[in-house]
């Protein structure tokens, strides 16, 4: 690196290029404590808990401890998270309510004694306000509900402000009432309240999902009570894009059939048939079509409808068997989750595509269970961790190569000649600057420009002065960085090995569960197939008998 024709800009470029080969001077100014906590908060929200922990460093403010606890929880340092939360859940802490709520969540997650969980949630209720208080009250109501203390749960919900948490609480309470009561009146009242409460939620997407659930439940309960008009009223307002749509259409048809309006009922079932058979209500809708024609007196068309259902179920069984074989061969994660992602590449070209793909439909249906979500999440987390580590391994290989190259350059003394030419160029430039400054008009733009050039030259001079010192330190610092990079590379390789073994075990658990689920679905379709065959046999028998009677009459 030799700079021959010296000019101010070239000096700066040369100097920068020379110094860029030297390692960083350590211990430079870092963001202040408050900014570090702010940076940690954003990192946590962006899904980077390890980076959040880096930013938090040894900050000990309440906000820092709360964020640290959340980050520690996410990276699996459960015990540390518990300790960090304990440090925040003290008298006078501004984040006490959040800490108690997090402690309550940990307590529930750990399956601790009810009294311990109760204590944490009650403390959260006592010290919180606003949305946090609503969340704490909801948790308290849930604790009472799961302990079968429904009256107590109802009293807590009655104290809550309208919104998402209150609506969710009433929906859960309604589920309990519908489970234990013969008469669905109490459950319907709870659902009415839930619907009124969700109206106050500002998050429209969340409110729309919950409303669909509330209306479906209310519709089913009204139908069971033979209140068909009410049921139709609830069910007809459910969005066709929602996950509940096929089931809602099936019950809508049932309610219409209850009013002897088979024609309209069959229209609803016909719409439900458009969805994959994996969704609740679709198999019943196929069977309903045959029943609808049968009840309307069109026996021939009823037979055809049952036959159509029969062939649809038969083909679904073939699809399920193929899917089971695929899951057995390549694992559930590849066959369901990854494949579903690939199919969704052109999502912008089709609406409701995710709802109409049979494979995605079975995945969604499987994912309804909490255990299934845990099993899929476990594998997904490990896959993403492995991809991040692979990326790091590649980066480290590049750093190591670059550090070796720079170390060799510094050891060979590259840059010393460049420094000398830069140093020699400063004095003539300073002289020219002095001359120009003397002739520049006062208070003009020229003076300002010359001042900037002067500052640049001053910087250059200062840096040329320290260059030799930095250059002397460089090989040692490069060697140190190189050692750290090589150690990190080896650690990444070790961790990827452990990860690969854990991923294999997690995928085995998921695959076994998915195969069991798919076999269950196969049985469900087989049962529906039996029903269509019985109905067809019954219809043919009926038609044969009618034909015989007609023949006898003639």
């Amino acid at each position: 690196m030799v700079c021959c024709n010296v000019s101010a800009s070239k000096i700066l470029v040369c100097l920068w290029a020379m110094l860029a080969t030297a390692p960083a001077a350590l211990g430079a100014a870092q963001p202040g404590d408050e900014n570090r906590v702010g940076l940690a908060q954003f990192s946590l929200a962006a899904g980077a808990p390890a980076r959040a922990l880096f930013w938090l460093g040894d900050s000990t403010s309440d906000r820092a401890n709360l964020l640290r606890a959340r980050a520690e929880w996410q990276v699996g340092l459960r015990e540390n998270a518990y300790k960090s939360l304990d440090a925040v859940a003290t008298e006078g802490s501004h984040y006490r309510a959040e800490a108690y709520l997090e402690l309550a969540k940990i307590s529930i997650w750990n399956g601790e004694k009810r009294a311990t969980t109760d204590e944490a949630v009650s403390k959260a209720v006592n010290v919180s306000n606003g949305m946090l208080r609503q969340q704490a009250l909801f948790s308290l109501a849930e604790l009472r509900r799961t302990a079968e203390q429904f009256e107590a749960a109802g009293r807590i919900l009655a104290k809550m402000d309208p919104g998402y948490w209150a609506a969710l609480g009433y929906l859960n309470l309604a589920s309990e009432y519908s489970r234990i009561d013969r008469d669905p009146a109490r459950a319907l009242v709870a659902l009415r309240v839930a619907e009124a409460m969700i109206g106050a939620d500002d998050d429209h997407a969340r409110a729309s999902d919950l409303t669909a659930l509330i209306r479906l439940k209310a519709g089913v309960l009204s139908y069971q009570r033979s209140e068909y008009d009410k049921a139709i009223g609830f069910l007809k307002t459910i969005n066709l894009d929602s996950y509940q749509a096929p089931q809602a259409l099936y019950f809508h048809g049932l309610a219409l059939a209850g009013q002897q309006n088979y024609r309209a009922a069959m229209q609803s079932w016909h719409r439900a048939k458009k969805y994959p058979l994996a969704y609740p209500g679709v198999v019943d809708a196929w069977l309903g079509m045959g029943r609808g024609y049968d009840e309307s007196g069109y026996l021939g068309q009823a037979g055809e409808a049952y036959q159509a259902a029969n062939s649809a179920f038969e083909s679904e069984r073939v699809s399920l068997r193929l899917l089971i074989r695929k899951v057995e061969a390549s694992g559930a994660y590849d066959a369901l989750v990854r494949a579903a992602r690939h199919e969704d590449v052109e999502w912008f070209l089709a609406d409701s595509r995710t709802l109409t793909q049979p494979r995605v439909a079975y995945l969604l249906h499987y994912m309804e269970g909490a255990d299934a979500q845990v099993a899929v999440n476990r594998v997904a987390e490990l896959v993403s961790l492995d991809s991040a580590l692979a990326h790091k391994e590649q980066d480290l290989a590049v750093y190591i190569a670059m550090l070796r190259q720079r170390q060799a350059k510094m050891t060979a003394g590259v840059g010393t000649s460049g420094r000398a030419s830069v140093e020699a160029g400063i004095a003539p430039l300073a002289q020219r600057l002095k001359v120009l400054k003397a002739s520049a008009a006062a208070n003009s733009g020229q003076t300002e420009q010359l001042t900037r050039i002067y500052q640049s030259l001053l910087d250059t001079k200062r840096r040329v002065g320290v260059f030799d010192r930095l250059a002397a330190k460089a090989p040692k610092q490069f060697a140190q960085l190189l050692r750290r990079a090589v150690a990190a590379q080896s650690a990444v390789k070790d961790q990827r090995q452990v990860l690969s073994e854990l991923q294999g075990r997690a995928e085995t658990i998921l695959t076994e569960e998915v195969i069991a689920f798919l076999k269950q679905q196969h049985e469900r379709i087989t049962f529906a197939l039996d029903r269509t065959e019985q109905q067809i046999a019954h219809l043919y028998e009926h038609l044969a008998l009618t034909g015989l009677k007609r023949g006898e009459q003639k």
Partner: protein, 177 residues
Amino acid sequence: MSDLSHLFRFWLVKSALILLLSSCSGSLWAESLDQEIDTLKADVAALNQTLFELEEEVLHPTDTQVAVYLSMADPEALVLESVELAINGLPAIFYLYTDPERQALEQGGVQRLYVGNLPFGEHQLNATLNGQAANDHYVRREAEFTIRKSQGKKQVQLVLTAPAPEFQPELSLKEWQ
């Protein structure tokens, strides 16, 4: 017949026991796997911290480092959708926000929008914000700043405000000392 029913009952109890044992061992297996995953995650997090420090030192040497941060002084200023940053006319970053990220900024979070290396001297920063203002209108705000890179780390913070009386979103530049 009684022998048969006895056999059937024995078979039922045996099957139930096998089922119970297999479900217990399955869940225990998953539980121990979860514990091992937690340990691995903690190790990976620790390694990530080391790597982050190393990257800071290797990739962004202090003397050439320039970092641009973003924060919101007024959470009501704007529902932030995206930010574009250009340095000396060249696009440096385009960032699209998720809901949790937006909420974090509104609650006092700070985003490290850009970190890179720049030579000494003056540089132009052009920041463009897109989002929804308090009156529900979609707005696009552009701001240009000049920063001067000299010896040591250069750290600047873009602060989003909405000063009275118009409460229109505005960007200002703050330098970290």
